[in-house]
Amino acid sequence: MQIKNVTRSEKLHKLALTIFSAILVICVAIGLMISVSFLPVRDAELIEIVSTQLPASGVSHPVTAVLLNFRGYDTLLEMAVLLLALIGTWSLAPLDVQADDTRHSPGEMLDSLTRLLTPIIVLVAGYLLWAGAHAPGGAFQAGALLASLGVMIQLTGWKLPIELTGIYLRFIHVCGLVVFLLVAASGWFNSAPFFSLPPDLAGILILLIETFAMLSIGLTLATLFLLGRPHSTP
């Protein structure tokens, strides 16, 4: 621990800052607690609307229906937020420094564990995607599993071949958002408002959106783990 010569006024300044922010935070906490305890028990109106419209939404799990059909606009914007974070991370990385390569080899346990877990994780992610229609699951959970697989593979030192890191990588990054936008805009062909899924096709459309969203989310989160640019020049 570095010991610097701290003057007395700096110590008093820091103490005053600590006490003042503690008082401020305690006031905020008390205010929030009072407002939460005075909240009335909510009426179940929105819940009833969701459960009555659930058969028309194409899936039978309410959270998936809310995520991808009733409030699908939020999910669309969320995938755009993921892409924005990726763009920001890539803009900040200096162009000539690669993301830090670890020079040492990964070790037996990580190596064999990754080899063992890769097909299992792919299988479980596919199951979660399918099961999202009627049980807890869905695109985000499956995408997160794929991202963890990507992180594990990166930690063993395996790198993508350079031919694949150009246009193909970026294609999978944006395919989730693009497919979502296309499906949402397809409502215009039936002269329906933007982002309305026809009830007879809704199940298949949601599965389509979820598949590409899973790939996109998984790859984007795994690429964010690099905290730099991917290996693009030989």
């Binding site: 935070v25 929030l32 607690m33 929105l46 809310v66 995520l67 969320e78 974070a85 985000f140 905290l227």
Partner: protein, 105 residues
């Protein structure tokens, strides 16, 4: 106190704890940790209030909001970490300028 209000209060407590740590701590990585704890507190309040319904039926709409929030939080954390690494590469320090360190790094 029902379970829902208990967890909502825990969420408020976590939010305040994270807010205090965000103001007081000077290491930038710890500030990112504090922001993450604050967002976890907000998610607890959302999901706790979702359970605060008659007949113990769970409201699915705040659940969807929390899932969206978790993904947005990790995107923001990743962006913040890359900003942090860039600051460290350019200036060599990870503390706020002009403040001496409080804890070990």
């Amino acid at each position: 106190m029902t379970i829902a209000i208990l967890y909502a209060s825990t969420g408020i407590g976590l939010f305040s704890l994270g807010l205090y740590a965000l103001i007081v701590l000077t290491h930038l990585l710890r500030k990112l940790l504090a922001i993450n704890v604050m967002s976890c507190g907000v998610f607890l309040v959302l999901a706790g209030l979702a359970a605060h319904t008659p007949n113990a039926i769970v409201d699915p709409i705040p659940h969807a909001m929390v899932i969206t929030g978790i993904v947005v939080a990790i995107a923001a954390t990743a962006l913040g970490l890359s900003i942090l690494l860039r600051i460290h590469a350019l200036t060599g320090r990870v503390h706020l300028p002009g403040v001496d360190e409080q804890f070990d790094d």
